[in-house]
């Protein structure tokens, strides 16, 4: 590219392009992974984000509708990054039933016995439960799907990076493969280019942990006619904390 003048070195250019947002979905996923494994690259992306941030201030502010905040509030898990969580749980346990938030409500069960005051039976405090993530890659290392398991909601969120409309003659079936027995459990289909939240039954959510593999196979319409995948596995990856 001698006629285009001086060029940035490759990692610097990639960092700038990632911060600017011009990369494709697989390139973005690759850049995110590189940020996680290469601190120097992560710093370069951060520096570019800072440089470009003032541009964002030109965006016109638009008020979202009033329904959004209540939706957010309902979706909030107990955040597990709280150094004071233990103390707050202790407070909740000792508190009588009052105006409790959703999080508190999920931690205890109020039992009414005749006309006696309510007795609060504290449930065991949940352990810290971070999201588990997996990048589902092809054999060649290209990410085609991203999966996140939310242990609080006991749901797997699967996002297809496959362009919509790709291969209308087949469907993409999602599988959960625990290391315990290596038997694939079907989690249903995901449409190209969409994201989907799959609630997991307790029997399956127990199997969603670090090291469990999530795979996607290419199947005839309606899904695999057999218990496990019948078509080729397009992409696979293991859940882990990222």
């Amino acid at each position: 590219m001698s006629d285009t003048g001086p060029e940035m070195n490759e990692p610097e250019a990639l960092a700038a392009e990632h911060a600017l947002g011009v990369l494709t979905a697989p390139e973005r996923a690759a850049a995110e992974r590189r940020m996680a494994s290469e601190p120097a690259f992560a710093r370069a992306v951060d520096a570019w984000r800072r440089r470009l941030a003032p541009l964002g201030m030109e965006t016109t502010a638009v008020a979202p509708s009033d329904e959004v905040w209540p939706r957010i509030e309902r979706a909030l898990p107990v955040n597990d990054n709280n150094p004071q969580l233990a103390r707050r749980l202790a407070f909740w346990r000792s508190a009588t039933v009052g105006a409790m938030g959703l999080a508190a409500a999920s931690l205890m069960v109020a039992v009414y016995l005749g006309n006696r005051p309510p007795v609060v039976i504290p449930a065991e405090a949940p352990a810290a439960m971070p999201m588990l993530n997996a990048s589902l890659n092809t054999e060649g290392g290209q990410p085609l799907f991203v999966a996140s398991y939310d242990p609080v909601r006991q749901a797997l969120i699967i996002t297809s990076l496959v362009p919509p409309g790709t291969d209308p003659l087949h469907v993409h079936q999602v599988w959960l493969i625990p290391p315990e027995d290596g038997v694939p459990r079907s989690l249903g289909m995901v449409e190209p280019g969409t994201a989907k939240t799959v609630p997991l039954d307790a029997s399956i959510s127990d199997l969603a942990h670090e090291g469990t593999e999530i795979a996607v196979s290419v199947e005839p319409p309606g899904g695999s006619p057999q218990a496990g995948p019948s078509g080729p596995v397009a992409a696979i990856g293991a859940l882990g904390e990222i």
């Binding site: 940035m8 003032p54 965006t59 502010a61 898990p77 362009p163």
Partner: protein
């Protein structure tokens, strides 16, 4: 609404990291219009932008402990989350999403301004000056890429210019920008 300063946001963010829902609500009140504007500009769809906005604040709640004031201001950090989520959603529509110019969005009046939250006016001014030093088409390409979150491919299609040329304009433009901002 009283003006919220960058320091107020930092204080709110440490309370959010400590699991304080009221602090998240205040952060939402102070910043949601700005972040919704970012999502809407990229996605140009109200419902989808509200879905993304919800994901953004849940992400902020989950990851508040990872916020590092030494690496970014609160506004930069949460705007980056919003841009990334919106761009991920846009990418899911395919590589040529928004290759066609979209009509100017209808912007509601009276939304609270986030001006007080900004990076310092100096930084805004410096970036403006440096962008103005680029040739017009490069400046336009960089602005379009930033505001609308489109890929090189979509940009090339929209500008009716070969992909390699657009890529080269932007890369050289970014390099000049860096040199101008950090001489």
């Amino acid at each position: 609404m009283p003006a919220v300063t960058a320091d107020d946001l930092s204080a709110l963010m440490s309370r959010v990291a400590a699991g304080d829902r009221e602090a998240l609500r205040q952060l939402y009140q102070a910043t949601s219009s700005k972040l919704f504007g970012v999502c809407l500009r990229i996605l140009s769809d109200k419902d989808e932008s509200e879905d993304v906005l919800q994901e953004v604040y849940v992400t902020i709640w989950r990851r508040a402990d990872r916020f590092d004031a030494g690496r970014a201001s609160v506004m930069t950090w949460i705007s980056t989350i919003a841009r990334n989520r919106a761009i991920d959603r846009l990418r899911a529509r395919g590589p040529l999403a928004h290759a066609e110019q979209i009509d100017e969005m209808e912007i509601a009046d009276g939304a609270p301004s986030a001006t007080a939250l900004l990076e310092s006016a100096d930084q805004v001014g410096a970036l403006q000056r440096c962008l103005a030093e680029l040739d017009d088409r490069t400046e336009q390409a960089i602005r379009t890429a930033f505001f609308e979150g489109v890929t090189y491919e979509a940009l090339a299609q929209r500008l009716d210019t070969p992909l390699g040329t657009v890529k080269s304009w932007i890369r050289r433009g970014l390099m000049k920008l860096k040199g101008c901002l950090e001489p």
